[in-house]
Point group: none
DNA sequence: TGACATACCACACAAATGTGTGGTATGTTC
DNA sequence: GAACATACCACACATTTGTGTGGTATGTCA
């Protein structure tokens, strides 16, 4: 334990309250507009703007947030922001020209992940295991899930099992009853009790 | 030619000046923070806030922009923007709690697609065909490619063939020579001349 | 005990920002 | 010519938002 080398970038320690403030800022920055000081206070239940300023001060000091003085909503996250990627062509449909002039459109996160869904309905899970390989979903892929209490036959869903485990499987109906099926012949179908927590809408894999 | 039905959504006509205002808003929204009315005026050379309000009025009326009254910087584009998605847990690692407090981090486009690569080096292609199914890459997946003139053994690459076709295959070296291999036994390896145009870094699939 | 961090509140004030009214001028359309 | 859109400006005013000072209370560390 002692003498261990720390090679990872240290995450600054945040108290749970500070974490909540940061998470709210993240949410708002991601959703639409960074919040004002008073909006933060309202959300987190602070009755004084001074309290919020105190929190911002520590977040700035810990390097998680930047601000421009005297400008409204001018709160920036130190974490990187998202942006767009050009779609240049379709593979095997001819030679794509890598120049800007040939750009067909842009892939953006919103379009890519969610279509027109809202922020609150969506979350991401990292896939573990090979139970869905035949559906092209591999170990360590990121699954983007839209929260839903139900789904249709053949949808791939995130389901909560009785043992409190969450799993990604294909939903099947047979004779009016639903069960879960892996996309890998070495896994047996699951007939036990489960609860659908969401529907798979996007898979992302990094190499 | 004549009598053709137009099914695309008509883009509202904008005067060049209106276009400039919209573009500035786009730029600011993408970069960091939507502008204030006065910031727009400053950039575009208007000396009156009323002028800017007139422009916003037409942009709103033409459905390109939304606003919240009396809120600073509360200008939204009707076009969709990108944003972040919370990573809440890892599938099969226990029950994820969908509340704010449990957010582990955020997936953002930058992180997801590119790691730390720059914008200019990256483009996207839509995959056609089933030649890579065994690598979990399916028809109509989106392949994010980093431009590179070469790659390593076993990398999946976008390659330009002699017939001007671009294809996604695994790069293999054998006896000092490179060839391309599909990830599907029904496709034969490609030994003909080819040029690597980039390396696969991310796959995205929407359901 | 003193020093310091966390975790708040109240309230005054200043600066930034949005709202609104009333103008001018130049076109185009009917 | 009347009606209307575009393309501006000046300026007062209201509201929102950020700043700053001075508190209270609780806990930890040394």
């Amino acid at each position: 334990m002692c003498g261990m080398f720390i090679t990872m970038k240290e995450k600054p320690y945040l108290t749970p309250k500070q974490e909540r403030v940061l998470n709210f800022i993240r949410k708002r920055v991601g959703e639409r507009l960074p919040p004002t000081i008073r909006e933060i206070g309202e959300e987190l239940g602070f009755k004084s703007t001074g309290t919020v300023r105190d929190y911002l001060k520590v977040l700035i000091q810990k390097g998680l947030v930047k601000r421009m003085n005297s400008k409204s909503r001018a709160i920036e996250l130190t974490e990187r922001a998202s942006f767009k990627i050009p779609i240049i062509g379709t593979i095997m449909a001819g030679k794509p020209n890598l120049a800007y002039e040939e750009i067909q459109g842009y892939v953006d996160a919103d379009d890519l992940f969610l279509g027109r869904l809202g922020f609150d309905d969506v979350f991401a899970l990292r896939v573990k295991g090979d139970s869905m390989v035949d559906a092209g979903i591999l170990d360590s892929d990121i699954a983007i899930i839209k929260k839903r209490p139900n789904a249709d036959n053949n949808d791939i869903v995130a389901a909560l099992l009785d043992n409190n485990e969450v799993t990604l499987k294909r939903l099947r109906s047979k004779g009016g009853k639903f069960h879960l099926e892996a996309a890998n012949p070495s896994y047996a179908p699951i007939f036990e009790e489960f609860k659908v927590i969401g529907k798979l809408i996007t898979v992302i894999r990094k190499y």
